[in-house]
């Protein structure tokens, strides 16, 4: 038996067992004949999927792994942690149980994901802490070598990593030292990006390596117009661009650029690409440059507004593309109404170019310009059940309430959480002597203990 799923493992099946033994152990076990060639092909398809979705440089790592170089691409997924979570979730939806880790080197990520369940994120300066305690098998060494090392009393990575290298190399060969250095990032381990022939790609090879930003700009602009010509033949527009620069030392510098709408405008594409030149480290020079539209979609042509009196607003998609490639697509949004009376839940995020929302906030009640992240308790003096406070103390400053409006009663949302069945908040707008206006609320209706603690909180500041 070569592999088993979680359900089978839970029932006692083990990798390395005879198939008949497993069948005897688990009645109704679904046994399939191993198909290494088919597995490899599927892994290649998975690598292409990961390249389209996550990062420009992906390489299948048989038998069961996928190496992804996330440099310059994680910003489109909302950061590295969000990218990992998204990856695991999407694979799970497809019925693939996967685990993922991200680290400064492929060796360390490979070790952590297979031999350690927690700590999926390895900080650049914490490689040693993350992998030193792991068994030697985590170093991608041949089995015979691991057995040999075990016989000599080496069990963990820490046992060999900090030892003088020369005697180890003499005894165990070069492989051990190379794998340790790869895990610690002392030698480079270039990935060979998987290629998909159906993706529109243009490339340039340079006889003399290039490195100056102006030269890069000139060539990427030329590549962008070539790519647009290629896309025109396919009648597609680019949604996601990969720019790969292969350096003379065989490392690949990759940048990924996302677009809000399919685009085939060479000037716009090259402007987005040149904005990222400073992120590319040319090292001793770049000898090959590739530009591909990993994600391409049909252009969405729309009718121009032709009726009198209707004017079409200016197109903001170029600005949105520029900003979201610079600071991350998740950090650019609209705030739209959500159907909820609870203030902190009444606002949701939507993509910046989404259509106008149908809902609207109720304009009748005053709402503060600044909402505190979470309500802060204040000390007050107030008559029960529904009088506003006469004064309150917030952040050490005591303020006398001169005018007040309220209460505006907001009920808990029992359909969301059981704890909110009885919960009530009574909101008051109060004004102090100098005219600052605050949004206070009492947790509870002032009479019934089930509705809340009857304590006072400040939730926002009016302008």
């Amino acid at each position: 038996m070569l592999a088993a799923n979680t359900a089978a493992l839970a029932q006692g099946a083990r990798v390395g067992m005879a198939a008949t033994q497993a069948q005897a152990l688990i009645p109704g076990l679904d046994v399939r004949v191993a198909d290494p060639a088919g597995d490899e092909a599927a892994l290649g398809r998975l690598a292409v999927w990961a390249m389209r979705r996550y990062a420009p440089v992906c390489q299948p790592d048989p038998p069961d792994g996928l190496a992804i170089d996330a440099t310059g691409a994680a910003h489109l997924q909302g950061g590295e942690a969000a990218m990992l979570a998204d990856m695991i979730l999407r694979l799970k939806e497809e019925g693939i149980e996967a685990d993922a880790a991200i680290g400064p080197t492929y060796g360390s990520a490979h070790a952590v994901v297979r031999f350690r369940r927690a700590h999926r994120m390895i900080a650049p300066d914490a490689v040693d802490a993350a992998i030193a305690g792991l068994p030697l098998a985590a170093l991608r060494l041949p089995e015979a070598l691991i057995a040999h090392l075990h016989r000599m009393g080496f069990d963990r990575i820490a046992d060999v990593a900090h030892r003088p290298r020369a005697p180890l190399t003499l005894r165990f060969g070069h492989d051990l030292g190379r794998r340790i250095d790869q895990a610690y990032g002392r030698v480079d381990e270039p990935l060979v990006p998987v290629e998909a022939p159906e993706i529109p790609t243009v490339s340039r090879v340079f006889g003399e390596p290039i490195g100056a930003p102006e030269t890069l700009e000139r060539h990427v602009t030329a590549l962008a117009s070539e790519l647009c010509a290629a896309l025109e033949i396919l009648s597609l527009g680019a949604r996601r661009l990969d720019w790969l620069c292969v350096r003379v030392d065989n490392r690949v510098e990759a940048q990924r650029v996302g677009l809000a709408r399919p685009t085939r405008d060479a000037a716009r594409l090259s402007r987005l690409l040149t904005d990222r030149i400073e992120k590319i480290d040319p090292g001793f020079g770049i000898e090959r440059m590739t530009l591909s539209a990993v994600q391409a979609e049909p252009l969405d042509w729309r009718w121009g507004k032709s009726a009198l009196g209707e004017t079409e607003g200016p197109d903001l998609s170029d600005l949105v593309d520029m900003l979201s490639n610079r600071i991350g697509a998740q950090r650019l949004y609209r705030l739209v109404p959500v159907e909820s009376d609870v203030p902190e839940r009444s606002v949701g995020k939507a993509p910046p170019l989404s259509v106008a929302p149908v809902l609207d906030w109720t304009p009748d009640w005053p709402r503060p310009a600044r909402l505190l992240k979470r309500p802060e308790p204040v000390e007050t003096m107030a008559l029960l059940p529904d009088n506003p406070p006469t004064h309150f103390t917030w952040r050490g400053v005591r303020r006398r309430v001169v005018r007040a409006d309220g209460p505006e009663r907001i009920f808990g949302e029992w359909r969301r959480r059981d704890a909110e069945v009885w919960a009530v908040r009574d909101y008051f707008q109060v004004e102090d002597e100098v005219g600052r206006r605050f949004w206070l609320f009492r947790a509870g209706d002032g009479e019934d203990g089930r509705t809340g603690s009857q304590a006072w909180f400040i939730h926002g500041l009016f302008g």
Binding site: L316, L319, L323, R326, R331, A356, P366, D405, G435, R437
Partner: protein
């Protein structure tokens, strides 16, 4: 004040203005719709193609709630989309809706730090299709503000820098010289009196601290209504509220 001057002076003034602008196309003004305020500003309103600074006074320097609403009101009175750049996402969108900026008009940019916030601000100002670009920033150096001002002049956009500091003591930074066209300080004032108990329409004490071609002044105004318009308090409509405060040019 201007009505008393001879006609020749106005022509001279226009020529000086044209020289100062150095051949750039004039992009117009956005009047406030409050007579006293518009009459005080040199071109009859807030000039477009420029960056304006708005800060809160006193404790408001930290929260900037009134300053944000003042900016929202200005942006709401121009047609088109508004880019709002922040580092601290504590703005409550329903309040902007009540100042005239509905959810379909604002795109928020949440920058990680001050330098990238200013970069986003500048990028927005370079785009000609926006109604206004608002940025909530603490630090604004002379060099940065000059870059922003030039970007706004090129595109004719309206830039509103809402100055907001981490601590009230840092607000002294507002005295530093910048290249912005005008500088405002907005402090909350006791609200309009009502005949019954309750809180009336909010009022602001609006100080014009610095303005090219006009003297510093302060006004007490009623806060933005649902279309972003300010108003003169009812009891002041009959007389001018603009009081000249000639000596106070630098902010304290």
């Amino acid at each position: 004040m201007r009505a008393r001057l001879p006609a020749g002076l106005d022509i001279l003034r226009d020529r000086i203005r044209a020289l100062e602008q150095g051949g750039r196309n004039t992009t117009g003004v956005l009047p406030f719709g409050v007579k006293d305020l518009d009459r005080h500003l040199p071109s009859g309103g807030l000039s477009l193609g420029a960056v304006h600074e708005i800060a809160g006074g006193g404790e408001e320097a930290v929260d900037g709630a009134a300053a944000a609403l003042f900016a929202a009101g200005i942006a709401a009175r121009r047609p088109g989309q508004v880019l709002w750049c922040v580092t601290r996402p504590d703005l409550f969108a329903p309040a902007l809706r009540q100042a005239g900026l509905g959810p379909d008009r604002v795109i928020y940019v949440e920058a990680g730090d001050e330098p990238s916030l200013l970069a986003c601000f500048e990028e927005g100002l370079r785009h000609p299709g926006l109604a206004a670009v608002v940025a909530e920033t603490a630090r604004l150096s002379l060099v940065a503000s000059r870059r922003l001002q030039l970007a706004a002049e090129d595109s004719g956009g309206l830039g509103l820098a809402v100055r907001r500091w981490r601590r009230a003591s840092e607000a002294a930074d507002f005295g530093q010289h910048t290249a912005s066209a005008t500088r405002w300080r907005i402090s909350p004032a006791p609200s309009s009196p009502l005949p019954v108990p309750g809180v009336g329409r909010a009022r602001w004490f609006v100080e014009l601290i610095r303005c090219r071609g006009a003297e510093a002044a302060d006004f007490t105004l009623e806060a933005c209504d649902e279309t972003g318009r300010l108003a003169l308090p009812a009891e002041l409509v009959r007389r001018s509220s603009a009081t000249r405060t000639g000596g106070r040019r630098a902010a304290a």
